[in-house]
């Protein structure tokens, strides 16, 4: 189908975009890469009167080294993140997850800000920003606030963003030395949304895990941290027994939905299996197990 009747406004600066958004309120939606929003418009599942196109705001697309962290502009394309040497070096989890999003032509347009603001329960980026404990910078004409990733995702396709706010920057702490990561997921075909996926970020000291972060996507209304599984790995290490116990803890912690792609039971099982694979892969990459 075709999009509903609408108008497109094309601000060339962030300030202009924020004032348009505040002026038009609920009538308007920001348009980033359009890779989630335009399908919804074509299906008439979303009917905003006005789209505020962010694609001409050049200073919202960047990847910057800011010392302890990387700052990524909301309009940075998924392809640029995938290709960034800085991201590969300092936040390898983010790079690995990006390669598992959709396909190249989608990643050429899709943005990190659009994916996070969209908050699809099966999307990779929400799990990554939870595991990396990122902060999300949000702006409106009323000012700026920083939201911790843990407080950003509220429900299916629902975030802490107010209607007049734009996500402008993602603050990605650099992975500490001695840390290792893995992003693993199962999808029916490469490029489909994950049935379940795990982002694992683990710091090791003398082969023992000292900081374990495990986040899941696809197995609930939002991505979430799996704290019970994290505690088991942190306490008992990355041997087969501990991994098995963590997998079981993860499977019983999630509350997935059944849909036409997979049943809730299957997603729960997958969550456990993916925990095992992600922890093993991260530990292998750290050289802690072979």
């Amino acid at each position: 189908m075709k999009p509903p009747l609408l108008d497109i406004l094309t601000p060339s600066s962030l300030a202009e975009a924020l004032s348009l958004l505040s002026e038009h309120g609920d009538e308007a939606r920001p348009l980033a890469g359009g890779q989630s929003l335009v399908p919804l418009l074509n299906f008439r599942m979303s009917r905003p009167a006005i789209l505020i196109d962010l694609n001409q705001i050049a200073d919202l697309a960047y990847i910057k080294d800011a010392g302890d962290y990387i700052a990524i502009g909301a309009m940075t394309r998924e392809r640029s993140i995938e290709d960034s040497d800085l991201v590969r070096k300092e936040a390898p989890l983010l790079q690995e997850a990006t390669t598992q999003i959709a396909h190249l032509p989608i990643r050429n347009r899709g943005t990190i800000g659009g994916s996070l603001a969209n908050a699809d329960p099966a999307a990779e980026y929400p799990a990554v920003v939870l595991a990396l404990e990122c902060e999300l910078v949000v702006q409106s004409v009323r000012g700026e606030r920083r939201i911790k990733a843990a407080a950003f995702f509220e429900d299916v396709l629902t975030t802490a963003l107010e209607p007049d706010e734009l996500l402008t920057e993602i603050i990605v702490p650099k992975a500490p030395s001695g840390s290792s990561s893995a992003f693993v997921e199962i999808a029916r075909r490469h490029g489909d949304f994950a049935l379940a996926g795990i982002a694992a970020q683990i710091t090791f000291a003398n082969s023992a895990p000292t900081d374990v972060r495990l986040a899941v996507c696809g197995a609930g209304t939002t991505a979430s941290r799996l704290t019970a599984a994290e505690e088991i790995i942190q306490r008992d290490g990355v041997g087969p027994e501990a991994i098995k116990a963590a997998s079981e803890a993860a499977a019983s912690a999630v509350d997935p939905m059944s849909d036409l792609h997979a049943s809730a039971d299957y997603r729960r099982r997958l969550t456990g299996v993916m925990i095992g694979q992600a922890v093993e892969k991260a530990a292998q990459r750290a050289g802690v197990i072979s």
């Binding site: 108008d7 890779q35 335009v38 396909h103 989608i106 050429n108 347009r109 075909r189």
Partner: protein
Amino acid sequence: MKAPRKVSLTVNGEALSGEASPRMLFADFLRDVLGKTGTHVGCEHGVCGACTVIVDDVAVRSCLMFAVQAEGADVKTVEGLADGEELHPLQKLFSEHRALQCGYCTPGMLMTAIDLVASNNALSEQDIKVGMSAALCRCTGYDGIVKAVTAYAEQVHGKPIKRESDNG
């Protein structure tokens, strides 16, 4: 203001312009306003890849872009591949490897493959399979498509790619 606007852009090296109302998808603009019907439309939600064209050097779904967003863009469509009667090397390989039957998916397959091969000079056959799964073909079973794109990647990057069938 929902009135049509003038959109000026370059398509296959030619400066063109046309009128588009804000809601018009770029795929429809190419086909219905500019008459470039080589670009096909399948699903209109980004899944099938039939509408894939190259905008400012990268492959994008033209069904997920608005025409007004293409103002000033440099666009390549399937019509721009051949040089007169002389087919583009990738088109020749599609023909040689029988990479099409009905041809509906082919324009999108070609544009997808060109960006995929340009994006990476060390593609494996598996990368090509994954990359070409970005577009759906209901006829060929992909065997010919993967062979054609693998041969094309070898031509472009000047080094052989190991095939799974090489394992014996």
